[in-house]
């Protein structure tokens, strides 16, 4: 099923006091096609997490609406619709492993499907299936989630979301706090979900290396607005925008820019990964 996500002039805010409101999203209009793999970047407080939350109905628009596969999220959306939205749009919060609670992995993963009325036997099947999907073996089903490593815990938490069989997955800094191996595992999983299942994936990150390696497209946010939505190479080519947004460069490009300064001329093309950079350096005769 095609699950386009459309933001129509969405404004959203958090009530931070009896009168005071903090504007989180400011007139966002955006159309995200099905099957995209998008990194959302921007400085702290730019509205990245809020953008994810409105897709899942955790934060309702004050004005405008979000349309996802025939469902509409606006300030008066009823609970039943929100429940349907949340099944289609799986949301993985920051440090999702902190929400693991059940005595064993199986019960933890089954919790979501059971809440949506899936019969126990079927929920258990789903648990097995999703556990395999996230690359963990079925023999941890009976283990306490708290006995697992950080990377494993996070994958179990993601399995709990995947068990709802969402078509869109939104994640708030999925790699943060994991060691490089754990991070790599999470992103390989996301890449697989995107390529093999055609799942639309949006992830928030501060790490431009994650953007360079794993995203297709990038959304750049500032002060609750979407400033850029397009191909990652186009973003990193746009030096003015990068500077204005105080965005970092991926390691390879940062190194490339320092090198170009040293040699006083640009290399033939921009490199986002060390693989690309090594090849360009060799071609251009610098190594």
């Amino acid at each position: 099923m095609v699950m386009e996500i459309q933001f129509h002039n969405v404004t959203a805010d958090y009530k931070t006091g009896p009168l005071k409101k903090t504007r989180a999203l400011n007139d966002v209009t955006l159309s995200i096609p099905s099957g995209d793999m998008i990194a959302i970047v921007g400085q702290t407080g730019a509205g990245k997490s809020s953008l994810l939350k409105t897709m899942n109905g955790l934060l309702l628009p004050a004005e405008g609406f979000v349309a996802i596969g025939g469902m509409k999220i606006h300030h008066q959306t009823d609970k039943l619709t929100l429940k349907r939205v949340r099944k289609k749009v799986g949301m993985v919060l920051q440090f999702p492993e902190s929400q693991l609670f059940a005595e064993n992995v199986e019960k933890d993963i089954c919790f979501g499907p059971l809440n949506y009325g899936v019969p126990l036997a079927e929920a258990r099947k789903l648990a097995r299936k999703t556990l395999q999907l996230v690359g963990l073996s079925a023999d941890i089903l009976s283990k306490s989630p708290f006995s697992l490593s950080g990377g494993e815990k996070r994958r179990v938490a993601i399995a709990g979301i995947l068990a709802l069989e969402p078509e869109i997955l939104v994640l708030d800094e999925p790699g943060v706090g994991l060691d490089p191996e754990g991070k790599e595992e999470i992103f390989q999983l996301l890449t697989k979900l995107n390529r093999e299942k055609g799942m639309t994936i949006l992830f928030v990150t501060h790490d431009m290396n994650e953007v360079a390696r794993y995203a297709e497209n990038v959304i750049v946010m500032q002060n609750g607005r979407v400033i850029f939505y397009g191909k990652k190479h186009d973003l990193f080519l746009n030096q003015e925008l990068i500077q204005m947004m105080h965005l970092d460069l991926p390691d390879a490009l940062r190194f490339q820019r320092l090198f170009e300064k040293k040699i006083g001329k640009p290399l033939p093309k921009i490199c986002l990964t060390e693989e690309e950079l090594a090849d360009v350096l060799i071609e251009a005769g610098y190594a």
Partner: protein
């Protein structure tokens, strides 16, 4: 030299005392005054356990930690904690004040400082971390990165001799992270502050004077970044090291040693003249 601020001797720890497998086994190392040490290693290597032991939140099964020559135990812990600040992974767990400045001041309230002194320290700490304009805000409504800065300000205001960072910078955007690194470098330059970073970030580790690599609860390597990086796995190596290895893999002749980014750029630039 040899002015040890932290001395860890034969340290072992298990969470489950009935299990054989130790989380940390027989660790020994020394951190000198003014030194910046980075402790790296995969998840589950015992890094955070070590941080908790260093600040006295856990008690060792075996071995002793000496802070400025004093063994860390129930009698000395309060005195030692005045000298030592710790910043943990998740800043939310450490917020108490209803405004940013109250939260930073909270850490000082136990120190019996005069009001003016408190104000001076809070001001300075908030300016150092770039959060002065948020002083009246409620910390619980700040973004993840802003919260982290406030928690760092709380520690800086205490003017500690030792700061332990337990994955403290992971949540920050790269620009603020680099700003904080240079702030730490500046603070370290006084020679008074001893720092221990527990981190996955190899760019952070590259700034340290020495790196300790933990693996399965044991020290697998201690040394300067130059000594440690050439021996680490692909995923743990900083960018310049990965690029150097990749170029060698592609049949190029590069020096057989770790090079910082500046050194590698210099080398590539010169290579161009020799061909």
């Amino acid at each position: 030299m040899g002015d040890a601020v932290i001395e860890v001797k034969d340290l072992s720890f298990r969470y489950n005392k009935s299990e054989e497998k130790a989380v940390l086994s027989s660790l020994s190392f020394t951190v000198n005054k003014g030194e910046w040490i980075a402790i790296v290693g995969p998840n589950g290597s015992g890094k955070s356990t070590l941080a908790n032991l260093l600040c006295g939140l856990l008690k060792p099964d075996q071995g002793t930690i000496y802070i400025k020559g004093k063994p860390l135990n129930d009698e000395t812990i309060w005195e030692i904690r005045e000298k030592m600040g710790v910043i943990f992974q998740n800043p939310d767990h450490q917020f108490i004040g209803t405004t940013v400045q109250d939260d930073v001041a909270f850490s000082l309230e136990n120190m019996n400082l005069p009001y003016e002194e408190m104000q001076r320290r809070v001001d300075r700490a908030l300016r150092q971390v770039g959060m002065a304009e948020y002083r009246e805000k409620d910390p619980s409504y700040l973004s993840g990165g802003q919260k982290r800065r406030v928690s760092i300000a709380g520690i800086l205001a205490m003017e500690p001799e030792i700061i332990i960072f337990d994955e403290a910078f992971t949540m920050l955007d790269p620009k603020s992270r680099r700003e904080l690194f240079s702030l730490l470098k500046e603070m370290q330059a006084s020679g008074q502050l001893t720092m221990v970073s527990i981190t996955h970030d190899m760019e952070e580790a590259a700034l340290a004077d020495r790196i300790i690599v933990l693996n399965k609860g044991k020290i697998s390597r201690i040394g300067t970044p130059g000594e440690v990086f050439p021996e680490t796995t692909e995923l743990l190596a900083p960018f310049s090291e990965r690029l150097r290895r990749l170029l060698i893999q592609k049949g190029r002749r590069l020096p057989d040693k770790y090079m910082t980014e500046t050194e590698l750029i210099e080398w590539l630039w010169k290579y161009n003249f020799t061909t």
